[in-house]
Symmetry: C2
Subunit: 81 residues, 2 copies
């Protein structure tokens, strides 16, 4: 995590993949996370699994912590995995 943070600051165009566990119980929940990530600058693509309760984000110029805080704003229980 330390090195990806350093790398994302030094090479803002480099893409990183970050994985999170997010408590989502219905398609409304995953839809909310979709809306948030779609609007976040630097997020290149993402994959949400309602079944596995996971969110995988490919981002450029964003640290894992920044993406974590963005998803957490949804009000869903979120943790870095």
């Amino acid at each position: 995590m330390f090195f990806t943070t350093i790398a994302s600051v030094m090479f803002p165009r480099m893409e990183n993949t970050y994985n999170f566990k997010v408590g989502m119980t219905c398609s409304g929940c995953s839809g909310a996370v979709t809306r948030i990530l779609s609007k976040t600058e630097g997020v290149k693509s993402f994959d949400i699994s309602l079944e596995k309760q996971t969110v995988s984000v490919v981002a450029a110029g964003l640290t894992q912590e920044q993406v974590f805080e963005t998803i957490k704003k949804s009000g869903k229980p979120t943790e870095i995995i």
Copy 2:
């Protein structure tokens, strides 16, 4: 809305009630809005109806616009009513 905005700026301790229509499809959705509002300074109390798809917020020192933006961060479709 104009007068409540002016009033909330002039009398920050005055309480106002703001109503919103929020697209929530399960208890996970309403739980997310609950977590967000619980953490928002100035929010005195709130009432969430999953059945009616409404959120009523009693706030002090916050404009309707500020509460609207706070709820919107959940990623749920939100409108002022």
